[in-house]
Symmetry: C2
């Protein structure tokens, strides 16, 4: 029976993959049967899969790029960390977080657009590249705005970019609707395709139009246009909240039967799981390698310096960089393991919603700060207050990155029939294991945080011990979970037949015998 279930989970994933591809192919082939006139002369129609993967890679790099100015801010040894961190917090970190948010909002719009346009041709590919170019320029305009908050140039540039983006996206929509075989099946076979077109155009143009007014307003009263901009950026979330409040207050609004699940901004609007994964992979990959980029560029000593300062001893010269290597390996391991948790979670997620995407974005924003935090831990003298604070900041960042991952899982559980694979639903045989995986980093980070508070003299050793043990904890996690469950069972309900979560039954061959022996 165990083996049948194993077959199940694999077939489930395979089916899921087929489904992912399925609708597109159906849409494509059926459209060619149904609309012969429109299909004529478009032999170059292509699957959009790789275009989207490339866009995701670009956007994920851009989303994390503003962490570099933060990471490269040199904290002086004689300065108090608290002060400089506060200085960082007010400016660069804020820019980083805002950029991350803006870029992910642009990314969300991009996803929405290409959930409607499921096939592309050369023209759309080129238009999309133009979009990407504008999106990659957004962080710069934003950091201009932050540095010169009383100057309208940054605002104008930002508004210009967004307006241009809106125009290009509208062109994409108009182009796609003029060649309906590029659209997804639902819209293709729908009779009121024009209504869709107008609805989508309306939603797309809303932001550029508001930016237009913000741009004009900036000549008159700059602060007001910042406010307008904030509204624009948070528009999806604000309208989501309003709708949710309304539905709670008045009761659910009866939706017209043909209302799409695109462009609704409802929290449970589906979000392409493929793209969430691709975007997250990009962010994790960039963040994991951020420190090695610095090391490769800055930490190769100059031969002349080695000769002069270290008497030609390369090893002595490199020893001064020791903490940097340690920070690199530590941050790579932590980011890699957080990716691993993310990967395990999304393996069992069947459907992604916008709300889960938002939580994922928050988690990724914290992950982006990790290399910086790790770098800080090694920049101060041993046992200084600064070092302690840097370590505690690292713990806090790890904690929140992990907590938001856990939050995705909790949100998914609320609607588990739609969003989760049966194995990890409440009572499923992988449920407890998955929870342990997700909870490991937040728990460890919290424990480390409080330990360093109590034993502040040993904060660095505790932190390094944590870095080293966590990978091994992940390796033996399945074992640990089983021990934990067995203990719980032993304490609370000696009669094991009562238990719903019979995780033990799956039985790892090596570990089964001792633990069964231990329990019974």
């Amino acid at each position: 029976m165990s083996q049948d279930e194993d077959g199940d989970i694999i077939e489930h994933h395979v089916e899921e993959e087929m489904e992912k591809r399925g609708p597109r192919s159906q849409a494509a082939s059926s459209s060619y049967v149904e609309s012969p006139s429109a299909a004529e002369g478009h032999s170059s129609t292509q699957s959009s899969h790789r275009l989207l993967a490339y866009s995701d890679a670009l956007i994920s790099i851009i989303a994390t790029v503003m962490i570099l100015p933060v990471a490269h801010t040199k904290v002086e040894d004689n300065e108090d960390l608290r002060e400089s961190v506060q200085l960082l917090l007010t400016a660069k970190i804020a820019v980083y977080l805002m950029t991350f948010l803006i870029v992910t909002v642009a990314w969300g719009a991009h996803i929405r657009l290409f959930q409607i346009i499921v096939r592309i041709d050369d023209c759309l590919a080129l238009l999309n590249l133009a979009c990407m170019m504008l999106i990659t320029f957004l962080p710069y305009t934003f950091s201009l705005m932050a540095t010169f908050s009383d100057h309208i140039l940054g605002m104008l540039l930002f508004c210009g970019c967004v307006m241009l983006l809106g125009v290009i996206q509208s062109v994409i929509v108009l182009y796609a609707f003029s060649r309906p075989f590029l659209l997804n099946e639902q819209i293709q076979i729908s009779e009121n395709r024009n209504i869709y077109k107008h609805h989508i155009l309306k939603v797309i143009m809303r932001v550029p139009i508001m930016c237009f007014f913000a741009g004009i307003g900036s000549f008159v009263f700059l602060q007001l246009s910042y406010l307008l901009l904030a509204v624009v950026i948070f528009l999806p979330y604000i309208s989501q909240c309003l709708k949710w409040c309304r539905s709670k207050a008045i009761g659910p609004v009866a939706e017209s039967p043909d209302t799409m699940l695109f462009y609704t901004y409802l929290p449970n609007e589906p979000l392409s799981k493929d793209r969430v994964e691709a975007f997250s992979d990009g962010v994790y990959a960039i963040v994991a390698t951020l420190l090695i980029l610095d090391i490769c560029e800055d930490n190769v000593p100059d031969p002349a310096v080695v000769q002069k300062q270290f008497g030609g001893s390369l090893i002595a010269a490199l020893q001064s960089y020791g903490p940097e290597y340690l920070a690199y390996f530590g941050s790579f391991a932590t980011v890699g393991l957080l990716w691993f948790v993310h990967h395990s979670l999304f393996l069992h997620v069947v459907k992604t919603t916008r709300f889960m995407g938002l939580l994922n974005t928050f988690s990724l924003a914290f992950v982006g700060g990790l290399p910086l935090a790790y770098q800080l831990t090694h920049e101060f003298p041993r046992n200084s207050l600064n070092e302690l604070e840097a370590i505690q900041i690292s713990c806090v960042i790890i904690f929140f990155a992990g907590m938001f991952q856990l939050a995705i899982w909790v949100v998914a559980l609320y609607n588990e029939r739609e969003t989760l694979h049966p194995y990890v639903r409440y009572g499923g045989r992988e449920h407890v294991f998955m929870m342990a995986k997700l909870a490991l980093y937040p728990c460890v980070a919290l424990a480390t945080f409080f330990l360093t508070c109590i034993l502040s003299r040993f904060s660095a050793p505790i932190f390094h011990l944590m870095e080293i043990t966590v990978p091994f904890a992940f390796l033996v996690l399945r074992l640990l979970v089983r021990v934990g469950l067995a203990l719980l069972r032993l304490i609370f309900c000696p009669d094991r037949s009562n238990l719903r979560m019979v995780v033990d039954d799956e039985g790892d061959d090596e570990s089964r015998v001792p633990f069964n022996a231990l329990v019974t």
Copy 2:
């Protein structure tokens, strides 16, 4: 009929996608039926798809990272570019190219490994992350070697990393063979699975063992161990050449019926097309954003400086950065369009071979140098010899990046029945269009190069004109190709029935009438 063929190309791509997934899913499900004992207790077995995508992202970042020290080398205005370029060429560019090569060799080994292991579990995922960490450290050891070529430390670190990599990969192989349901079907159902295991282990351990000797030899005679290292790195290519020469001299060797197509190092050994695409996407994405990373970090002026030097005029302050923005947009557009060509090509490639992968690597190595070249074009005074040379270097880089893409296509044509979709084979209706797409950049780069030689005074305007017109050329390329063909037809064979490549027949509705009218 035209519309039937349109259906064909889409179905073809869909089938291809199904095939891509197909073998894995079959392998997975059938294995659970065939080997019930082995499958027991492994409910956490997962598709390796996302793990590989993440690995590709990491490796592509690392492959391009050594271009950063090159790009950040400041070329002094009073210095002669030729000299400084020669200085760069000898050291940093060599390091960049060698790093790129080494990392792609490691990537090739990783592909080969995961063509055999088609499913993963948590343990393999964690081991793979350890592999990635070591691979990301390789560039640094290599740049140490290059900077301190007479010191053994770089060599020892490099050899240590490679040996550790070999050990981890061996552990992965042993682990996977102990759980055969993780392997691909061909090996799973094979009776001499042990022979495979030993063959694979032998191939994997060959490199670390040679590195071990290189490491020991470095204590005795450093130069010799560099030679040994070069042999190690080029081993696949050397053995390929030798085998190819032997097969040409003696005639093809009769292979034993059960010989795998993995770990043969033959040029036509299949290479996962998915992974070649993912790796290329990663490289193109990083390279496209390299300049904006710099801009975001360095080109936000300090408010104090703006106040002092530019009298508070932000626009004046930003104008001094103008060339950098231009370089960014230019390099983004060029890299984006080269990606577009790559995407179009691989859309019609059905099977990728190792040799095509090698050509792709060369193309990507040149693409990596593009931002640097573009940055150089704007660092010198107008109409100086330096500017001219920087522009010509850019043209040369674009030319080679495009030529290697074209080479992939030529190699694919040699074996078109296996590697290409019927539409782009010789005589297929997309054949000429594809060739035009691939030839556009090399032709334009060559033309620009010679134009700047002749009209050296107008080199900058010519170059910028090229940058601006190429995207539009891509937009109207299909039209241009048709005009070109029509003209050729008009000149060489007025009797149009003789022509094999009747591209005209597919007929874009808008363009069909005028051109038919033009021809007849």
